[in-house]
Structures are given as C-alpha cells and as structure tokens.
C-alpha cells in the first residue's frame, strides 16, 4: 500500500522567508508483531505487522515550531525517534540542514549534524540518571561532542546553562531527586541545550507536569527559541498547548497526516472532519456549560486499520468511496488536507 506524497507548501504566509531546516519525506515505519518464525511454524499464525507511520511528509523552517498532534498510538513518538536518528525508518528520509540522517556516508557531516539535534522527553523523572549530579548530566553532551576540554570552563558553561533555564548555578551539585517535576524538566532542557543545537525535538515535554508548572516550561521554551533562534518539533496530544506554541501544525491519525496548516488557520478553520472532531472534543474552561457534540467511536486497531480513509467509520460525512480509496492530499486555502470531501468526487456526488 502506498500513499501519495504530501506536497511541500512553498508559500507559507506567516513564517517569512526562513530556510527549510528539516525535511521529512515519505517517512514510514512498520513494526513486526508476529511471533518468532519457529513458533509460527509450530503453532501456526501468519505474519502480523503494524504500520505506525505511513508515508508522512512535512518540512520545518528555521526558527519555527512545527507541532504534531494526534491521539495515543497515532505515531507521534515513532516519528520523533526516526527524526533524531534513534529509530530506523522502513522507508523515506529525514534531512536536517542538508544532511540525510539515515543515508549519509559522510561521517564528519553526520557528527556535526548530530550535535545540532537534541531531544526532550515526556518524563522528566525517567530521563535523568538518578545517580549523577546535575552537573554531570548537563556536561555529558559537552564531553560527548568534545566541545570544551578544560574542566573549569565546562563547569562555567554548566552554570551558564542552569541560569539560562532559570535554575541556580549551584544546583549543579545536587541530584535529580532533589528537584520538582518542573525543575527536572528544566534540567533536561539545559542538557539539551548543552551542545548548542539548532533543532530540538520535544516529545510531550509538559504532559507529566502540573498546569501551573507546564506554563513555566512552555514559556521557557518559547523564550529560548527567541533568544537562541531554535527550531522545534513539538509533539503533543493537547490541542490547547499546541495552539500556544506552534507556527505550523500537522494532525496525525493512525500514522497518516490528515491535515497540515499554519497554526492560526488550523485553529480558526479546521478542514478535515477529524481535526474538527478533535477540536470539538477538547473540554475548555472558557466554553464551560455549552453542550458539545458527542463523537462516535474509538480509534480502530492499528494492526488492522480501516481501508481507504482510516477515519471513515467515525466520519459523519463519509461517502461511498471513502472506505475504498485512500484520499490524496488537497490544497484547501493554506491547508493540506487528506480527505475526499475536497476532491472532484464530492462535486460530482452533489
């Protein structure tokens, strides 16, 4: 099964003339869930595969925040891992600053590129080594990339980084357990910044935090972006959070990008029925009391996704061919939408 490529939008209205930093093309990842072949031979049962990411294309410009939203299992973390080089794609490519993350043979270029990419994870408790002092944790990327050889200078740099994320340089002497969740996430951010990266992938960086602390971390990420000119791939299932950080948004459903648009457009006029449904489903304090449209159904089993448009069984506007043909990508205003409603079929069906 192959899927038409999501065309690159060249004339983004609101991100200026910045250069493209990250390019994701035809990205795909299939997991093999079958039992080992010997067990299959004895117990029967065929090959079982799960397509977690199914032909995803997008591009991120320098200095912008590209947000990927989607519900659990839509493939967000799988895309993140393939982007930073932690998980090999089954097909497709990731290019960062002109270097192919998975295909480049240029060892020197690869090393330079790796230094430019960092990742921040959801769980600030699990992602920091509990036996290391904060100083050692933050120093680690500096040492790994041989950035500063003098120990004293390195110590100073750690102090600088701690101040940058709003902690005290003396906090370097402490251990992670001496900090609250929000402070640990600041430590993780300081570590991510240690190698002077240009591009940071943030996978649900505030999902484990309280809202009052989430605001601190979101504001910090935004402030650092302005000061250091960082580019983010920001992953979240929380649309309200995404609205506050993103320049551009991609909406994932069962491994496919169903809609992609500048943040303002996406929230002001969502096009894809799934995007509309997601926005409708968010309980919002401002809209308290208003009765919302209840949404039917749940996310189908990803091992056996519905044919055609994966969303068709839950879609209030599904047409006959939605269950048969994979919709191509249509340009609708500033958005790229993968939905048959925007094709000729719709017009002729009317």
């Amino acid at each position: 099964m192959s899927v038409a490529a999501m065309p690159k939008d060249v004339s983004r209205p609101d991100s200026g003339n910045n250069k493209t930093l990250v390019e994701i093309n035809g990205l795909r990842r299939v997991f093999d869930l079958s039992k080992p072949w010997l067990n299959r031979l004895i117990e029967g049962g065929g090959k079982v595969t799960l397509t977690a990411v199914d032909g995803v294309d997008f591009a991120i410009r320098e200095g912008e925040t590209y947000a990927l939203v989607g519900e659990s299992g839509s493939g967000k973390s799988t895309i993140a891992k393939m982007t930073v080089g932690l998980l090999r794609p089954s097909a497709g490519s990731v290019t960062i600053g002109g270097t192919d993350v998975w295909g480049s043979k240029d060892a020197e270029g690869m090393r330079a590129m790796r230094r430019q990419i960092q990742m921040i994870f959801q769980d600030p408790f699990a992602s920091l080594n509990p036996r290391w002092r904060v100083r050692a944790i933050i120093e680690e990327p500096i040492k790994a990339f041989d950035l500063i050889s003098d120990a004293k200078d390195r110590g100073e740099r750690v102090g600088e980084l701690l101040s940058l994320v709003g902690l005290d340089p003396r906090d370097g002497q402490k251990f992670p357990h001496e900090f609250s969740g929000g402070q640990r996430q600041r430590i993780a951010i300081a570590r991510a910044l240690a190698s002077n990266p240009r591009f940071i992938v943030c996978d649900e960086p505030t999902s484990a935090l309280d809202v009052s602390v989430q605001a601190q971390v979101l504001n910090l990420l935004r402030d650092l972006q302005e000061r250091l000119g960082l580019t983010y791939l920001f992953i979240s299932h929380n649309l309200a959070v995404v609205r506050h950080v993103a320049t551009r948004v991609g909406v994932l459903y069962l491994g496919r990008l169903v809609e992609e648009a500048p943040a303002r457009e996406l929230f002001a006029s969502p096009q894809h029925p799934y995007t509309k449904m997601l926005l409708e489903a968010v309980p919002d304090i401002e809209m308290g009391g208003s009765e919302r449209q209840s949404i039917a159904g749940e996310i189908p089993n990803p091992v056996n996704p519905p044919p055609g448009c994966h969303f068709h069984p839950r879609c209030p506007q599904a047409m006959d061919h939605c269950s048969r043909d994979i919709p191509p990508v249509y340009h609708v205003g500033a958005a790229n939408v993968r939905c048959h409603l925007f094709g000729d079929a719709k017009r002729s069906a009317r």
């Binding site: 809202v211 605001a215 506050h244 919002d284 308290g288 009391g289």
Partner: protein, 352 residues
C-alpha cells in the same frame, strides 16, 4: 434544608512514616447535595485521591483518618466496621477509577462480573440478574451487548472498558458515585463520550457525583460546584461558573490563568505560578500557598487562614478575612482588587 448526600467535616488524614507523621488532608470540609456533581480539582499531590479513598474507607495503610466526620445521607460512615463499610461500598457508593483494569478482573468474562456484582447487592434470580446486566451494558453504550456478554476485558478497548466500569458502579443504584480521574487514561475523542455518559446516567438516577480530576476543562463542563484543593487543604469552593470566571483564591486565579485555552490570544505569554506544590513533609507554615503567592503579606506566613465567605464562593485566604485583610499593605490590597478579588468592606476602606 435537605440532608446532603455526602457531608465531610474537618477531615484529617495522616500518614505515619519513619520520619514522622505526615498530614495528607488537613481540616477539609465540604458537602455534596442530592443529585449534585461536585468537582474535586487540584494539581498532582493535592490530596484528591486520598480524600476519595478516605470516604470509601479504602485508605492505603498506614494512612488513616485521624479526625473529622464523614456522613452519607446523614449517617456517620467513618466509624463503622469494615464489614458494614464493605456493604456500603458498591451498594450505596459506586466507584470509578482512572484505570478500568483496577475494577475489572482480567480472568472473568464481562457479563459474569456484572451478574455477580448485581447478585451481591440484590436478591434476584440468575436469569433476572442477567437481563439487568444486559440492559445496563446497553445503557452504557456497548453495541451488541448480548453478543459481547461473554467477552473478556482485554477484548474491549479502553473506552469500552470504562463503560463497563460505569455499568458496574451503577448496578446497585448508589446514592453517590466517586469517580477518580475516570477519563485521564482515555483519548481526547473518547473522554467527552465517557463524561457525557457518566453525567447523564447519574442524573437519570438522581445520584450525586464526586468527580476527581486535574482537568479544569472537564470540571467546567460537568460539575455544578467545584472544590479546589492545595496541599491537602481546601483553597476554594463554590459554584463552578463563579470559580472559573471569578476565582477568589490567588491559587485558583493562578491555576485558571495558566491553563492554555482554545480561545483568546495564542501568542500571549501564559501566566505562570512560580515554584511548585510543596511535598507533604515540607508544607510551609501559615497559608500553604504563601511562598508562591503574589499577594502574600505578614499574616500569611504567621497563621493559617480559615475558610471565609468570598462573595460568590468561599475561599481560604486572608484577603477575605475582614479582621486580617486591612493589615495588608495598601499596594497589595490594590493589586488584589485589580485582580478581581472581592475584598471585605474593612479592607476596601483602607484603600479608598
């Protein structure tokens, strides 16, 4: 006045540890009226789940109720025997937890679990119990209930399992349902369905609900009144609209402003509260919120505020205490006034 379905008075929950006794809930009082949905909100560690566990007599040892009273429809339930409490649970108080798998036995068929629960609460024939169980499953929106009666929990999706748990919680027509983060583990698109279902079924049966969640959006859409907890203490309690639109405790104000919303200016910097919720062993003296509070003044670190009438709601903050508020610096009072805190007349006079 009608007797509240649930009445909690001066509840105190302690957890003895090697390093001393921790006070997890400190002097907490609230009521839930018949048919009312009370939202319990607060950030992680505020004491929401412990309050729920204390009410149903399922505090994890060594935690214990060390003071106060809990009444269900007027009768004390905090001092009854474990046997009596077991009968109250399930029959008079239904429970729904975050993870449906804590309520469902993975080894038993869904239908059998329902039938068994119905039979422990009601004298019915096996056949009548089965009919009731199928009807309940239909009511909670399980398609083809009859056919899926013999399915195991793992054959259901997360949302479907939570529907079954709701059916289990409601099968004895309880007076009170305690739901602890019932949708937190579910996808956004399923959350709304489950909340709507829970609300409708409880309303149909006239059951009161204590809805525990950290999601203010869920509360705003579901609850009649809301109780905001901070460090095991009540910060503010009142009608949901009032608390959301005109919060009277500085913590509630901070919390509301920190929540990213789908309306308003997306580029505005989110309001942030400095610091984080204190750990149990390190709750500051005086008002627990004082080190994080923009309006804190001398009294706030010296004594602990009671719960005062704050106009549209009740709040535990000295800015609402008519004898204490006037002692705050004039610029603090002015700033609080600006922020929408309805000061007592005595304090208004000092800044007039």
């Amino acid at each position: 006045m009608t007797t509240p379905t649930l009445s909690v008075r001066n509840l105190r929950v302690e957890i003895p540890t090697r390093r001393g006794v921790l006070t997890a809930i400190d002097d907490l009082s609230f009521d839930i009226a018949p048919g009312e949905v009370l939202g319990m909100v607060g950030e992680s560690g505020a004491g929401k789940s412990i309050t729920g566990s204390a009410i149903i007599g399922l505090l994890e040892p060594p935690g214990r109720v060390a003071g106060g009273e809990i009444r269900l429809a007027g009768e004390r339930i905090d001092n009854v025997s474990p046997d009596q409490m077991r009968r109250i649970r399930g029959r008079r108080i239904g429970m729904i937890f975050q993870d449906p798998l804590t309520s469902l036995n993975p080894l038993y068929r869904i239908g059998d679990q329902l039938v068994e629960t119905i039979l422990t609460h009601e004298r019915l024939s096996q056949k009548a119990a089965r009919t009731k169980a199928v009807k309940l499953l239909e009511e909670v929106g399980i398609p083809a209930a009859e056919a899926r009666f013999s399915a195991y929990p793992h054959q259901f999706s997360g949302g479907m399992r939570q529907r079954v748990v709701i059916a289990l919680a409601l099968c004895a027509d309880p007076e009170l349902v305690i739901a602890d983060e019932p949708t937190t583990a579910l996808d956004v698109s399923v959350q709304a369905q489950i909340i709507a279902l829970l609300k409708r079924l409880c309303a149909d049966r006239g059951a009161s609900v204590m809805l525990i969640t950290h999601d203010m959006g869920v509360i705003a859409e579901t609850a009649d009144r809301v109780c905001v907890l901070y460090a095991g203490r009540l910060a503010e309690i009142g009608p949901v609209r009032a608390v959301v639109k005109h919060p009277q405790h500085p913590y509630t104000q901070g919390l509301m402003a920190a929540i990213p919303s789908l309306v308003g200016d997306p580029d505005a910097t989110l309001a942030q509260i400095p610091g984080s919720m204190p750990r149990l062993g390190a709750i500051p003296a005086g008002c627990a919120f004082n080190p994080r509070c923009n309006f804190a003044f001398e009294a706030c670190s010296a004594a602990r505020p009671e719960v005062y009438d704050a106009g549209t709601s009740d709040a535990s903050c000295f800015l609402h205490a008519s004898e204490v508020a006037p002692s705050a610096p004039a610029e603090t009072l002015r700033a609080a006034d600006q922020a929408g805190i309805v000061l007592p007349v005595s304090a208004k006079e000092t800044i007039a």
